[in-house]
């Protein structure tokens, strides 16, 4: 897959398949991710990107295939397992609990507790103010349920939750879909900053400019199969579009099982 095989990848998805009612949503797909690297997963709607990534984050159970974290096989059956491996996910649907406030969402499932075993809301809110201050300095609505927030604000809550727990592997499924240009830029800066900290990031995006701006490599999917892998420095935007639309692998890319067979 990748040509940087001399060290072990942070994540390796090997031969993953899953079917929903006879439809092969992901069909023997493989990809990998190294520390401090951004790998973009691209493809049409329904190409299987989100499904593949949900298998890594534990939201779906794969039918076959293996997941390796730091070269060791990982058992990921549910979201809790994934979090134990340091995998944090920002979902396309955001997946925030609408009726509780930002701090409660940031710590959902991992609440801070006092010595008495009760929730330490004040400490959580203080911590939330710090994280959100870094991410979105304008954010002030800590007391309100998340349902009252704007799309961009909800997005920042979802992102803050992912980075709060020192994730090693970050999955971002369309992280900028609900954002304005300024907020999108902030997310871009954030991704670059996280990269420097050595976090590996899987990025799902439809925006080809974002991808070339942020990602080191792309994995292109079509109809549940991997068309090919490429370094963003080795291919052009048009070539990647060609992979997405026609499944045609350019010379700069390594073809996968889904590549168009050129006779």
């Amino acid at each position: 897959m990748s040509d940087t095989t001399h060290n072990t990848p942070l994540v390796e998805l090997r031969d993953i398949s899953i079917a929903f009612g006879g439809i092969k949503a992901v069909d023997h797909a493989s990809t990998d991710l190294f520390p401090g690297e951004v790998v973009a997963l691209v493809g049409h709607n329904g190409a299987g990107k989100s499904t593949l990534i949900k298998i890594l984050s534990g939201a779906y159970k794969r039918d076959s295939g293996k997941i390796f974290i730091n070269g060791e096989e990982a058992q990921i059956e549910n979201p809790r397992d994934a979090k134990r491996y340091g995998i944090e996910t920002i979902y396309q649907t955001l997946a925030v609990a609408d009726n509780v406030d930002a701090a409660a969402n940031l710590y959902l499932g991992r609440e801070l507790q006092t010595a008495w075993g009760t929730l330490d809301d004040i400490a959580m809110e203080a911590e939330a103010r710090k994280v959100m201050g870094r991410l979105n300095p304008n954010f002030q609505r800590f007391k309100e349920p998340v349902s009252k927030l704007s799309g961009g604000q909800r997005q920042s809550v979802a992102i803050a939750r992912a980075i709060l727990f020192n994730a090693r592997i970050l999955i971002m499924d369309e992280p900028t879909a609900a954002l304005g240009p300024q907020e999108t830029e902030q997310v871009g800066d954030l991704i670059k900053q996280l990269k420097k900290e050595g976090i590996g990031i899987f990025l799902i995006s439809h925006d080809i400019h974002d991808i070339f701006d942020l990602a080191d490599r792309v994995t292109v999917m079509k109809n549940g199969q991997v068309v090919g892998y490429a370094k963003t420095s080795d291919v052009t935007k048009d070539e990647v579009l060609g992979m997405i639309i026609m499944g045609k692998c350019p010379p700069g890319a390594i073809p996968g099982p889904g590549a168009l067979q050129t006779a």
Binding site: A95, A97, D98, N99, V100, L108, L119, I122, E125, R161
Partner: protein
């Protein structure tokens, strides 16, 4: 329980505040609400409750020539009658918040009551002897345990087998009622253990004047302590504080209501017959007419207060409570956040069952017997109490104090109609109408809040 008294003080203060400055009335009111952080819904419910109370009293006063609603005796009885429904309503909040329903609570109550009666009347006296002090403890513990197990079983069917809660508990409604009938072959088991029967209230099942003062003062200390701790916490993290006047106002309201309620239950004396019995048993020389023995808090009311506090703590201060509300708001997000939603569901239903067991203790102790129809239709009153108290069927929204207030509203309607001599048939119709009306008001409120 202290909410119902608090109503009076709270309401009158609001009125004077709003009346004082007509011009900036709205400004003042909003400022008052913001400073005290009092919920508008809470005020609305309190107003509704007051209207019901005063309405029934005035109706009695004007039409029947004798207002009997706002008397120490009636309020005391009302508080005891509310206990059983109120206890279950606090659990129903959690069930409805997570978008489930429990139709089986009345039947679980009946089944637990029957089991406890069998244990303490048919089984234990044979081994321990009649009136053994362990009997009531074993009976209560087994009743609570049976309730929790049944609830947990329902929760398992809902969470792990994916059967809708409506169906599981509809089945439970029939199954446990039938099981209770089979257990006792349809008999009424009576009388229950004499210590056990104290848990149902009555003159002997109340803690008297001194005890009530102790409880009241403890509650006041608790209110003040909570406010101090809260204020210190906010200071520590530099969060905005309530203005001092608002803190003092809330503290005074809380303590005032508590003290008022203590005085109320203490002003209701034992009936003359019981006093005579008591005087004879204790060889008192004083003429019976001159003896004034206060009821004080009835034990079921104390149970309800304790359950209310415990459940409020559980929902607002623990992980479990946080998860319940997160699941109610967005079940998928909760699952993705790593919450074991299925296990939480089992725990919610088990807790509901446990509270049914507790209500079974109160209800059967109050009647001094376990009858086959104990708790019939309770599920509807419990659901109504939770919903009137602001628990939303859309999930994710609901409060414990609201449910307790809702239970008081339901019971007030019921009691009031009995006092002014309405038919059972009319009572049912009114209760049904009020339920629909309350939910309509709630829907409108939410639509406007958006």
């Amino acid at each position: 329980m202290r909410e119902d008294g608090g109503v009076l003080v709270n309401q009158s203060t609001t009125k004077t505040t709003t009346g004082a400055g007509r011009v900036d009335r709205e400004g003042l009111f909003i400022r008052f609400m913001r400073a005290t952080e009092v919920d508008v819904r809470l005020l609305g419910m309190i107003a509704a409750l007051l209207t019901i109370w005063v309405g029934f009293h005035l109706y009695g006063e004007l039409v029947l020539g004798r207002g009997s609603f706002l008397t120490a005796r009636n309020i005391w009885n009302l508080s005891v009658q509310t206990a059983s429904i109120g206890v279950m309503a606090t659990g129903m909040v959690l069930v409805i918040v997570t978008r489930h329903i429990d139709l089986s609570v009345g039947s679980i109550l009946g089944f637990c009551a029957m089991m406890m009666a069998i244990i303490q009347v048919w089984i234990l006296p044979e081994y321990l002897g009649l009136g053994h002090p362990l009997i009531w403890i074993i009976a209560v513990v087994s009743g609570l345990l049976i309730g929790a197990l049944i609830g947990g079983f329902h929760g398992y069917l809902v969470a792990y087998l994916g059967i809708p809660a409506f169906i599981v508990t509809l089945g439970g409604l029939l199954v446990w009622r039938g099981a209770a009938f089979l257990l006792a072959r349809g008999e009424t088991i009576s009388p229950v253990d004499s210590t056990f029967s104290l848990l149902g209230g009555g003159p002997y099942g109340s803690i008297g004047s001194t005890g009530s003062w102790v409880v009241g003062i403890l509650i006041c200390i608790g209110i003040v302590a909570l406010m101090l701790v809260g204020r210190r916490q906010r200071q520590r993290y530099d969060f905005p504080l309530r203005p001092m006047w608002a803190e003092i106002f809330l503290g005074l309201v809380g303590c005032g209501v508590t003290v008022g309620f203590v005085m109320l239950v203490n002003s209701y004396p034992w009936p003359i017959g019981i006093v005579r019995q008591y005087a004879a048993a204790n060889n008192l020389e004083t003429p019976v007419k001159e003896i004034f023995i206060s009821h004080g808090f009835a034990i079921p009311v104390l149970i309800l207060i304790a359950v209310g506090i415990a459940m409020t703590f559980l929902t607002s201060r623990t992980r479990f409570g946080r998860y319940v509300f997160a699941i109610g708001g967005n079940p998928e997000a909760a699952e993705l956040a790593g919450i074991n939603t299925r296990w939480v569901t089992v725990k919610i239903f088990a807790l509901m069952g446990f509270l049914c067991g507790l209500s079974a203790v109160i209800a059967s102790a109050r009647l001094n017997s376990a009858t086959n129809n104990l708790g019939t239709l309770d599920e509807l009153y419990v659901i109504a109490a939770a919903v009137i108290g602001g628990t939303s069927f859309a999930g994710g929204v609901g409060t414990i104090y609201g449910a307790v207030l809702g239970a008081i509203v339901m019971q007030s309607l019921q009691t009031g109609m009995v006092l002014i001599g309405f038919d059972a048939a009319i009572q049912q119709m009114v209760v049904g109408g009020v339920l629909v009306f309350a939910v309509w008001i709630d829907t409108m409120y939410r639509a406007r809040a958006k």
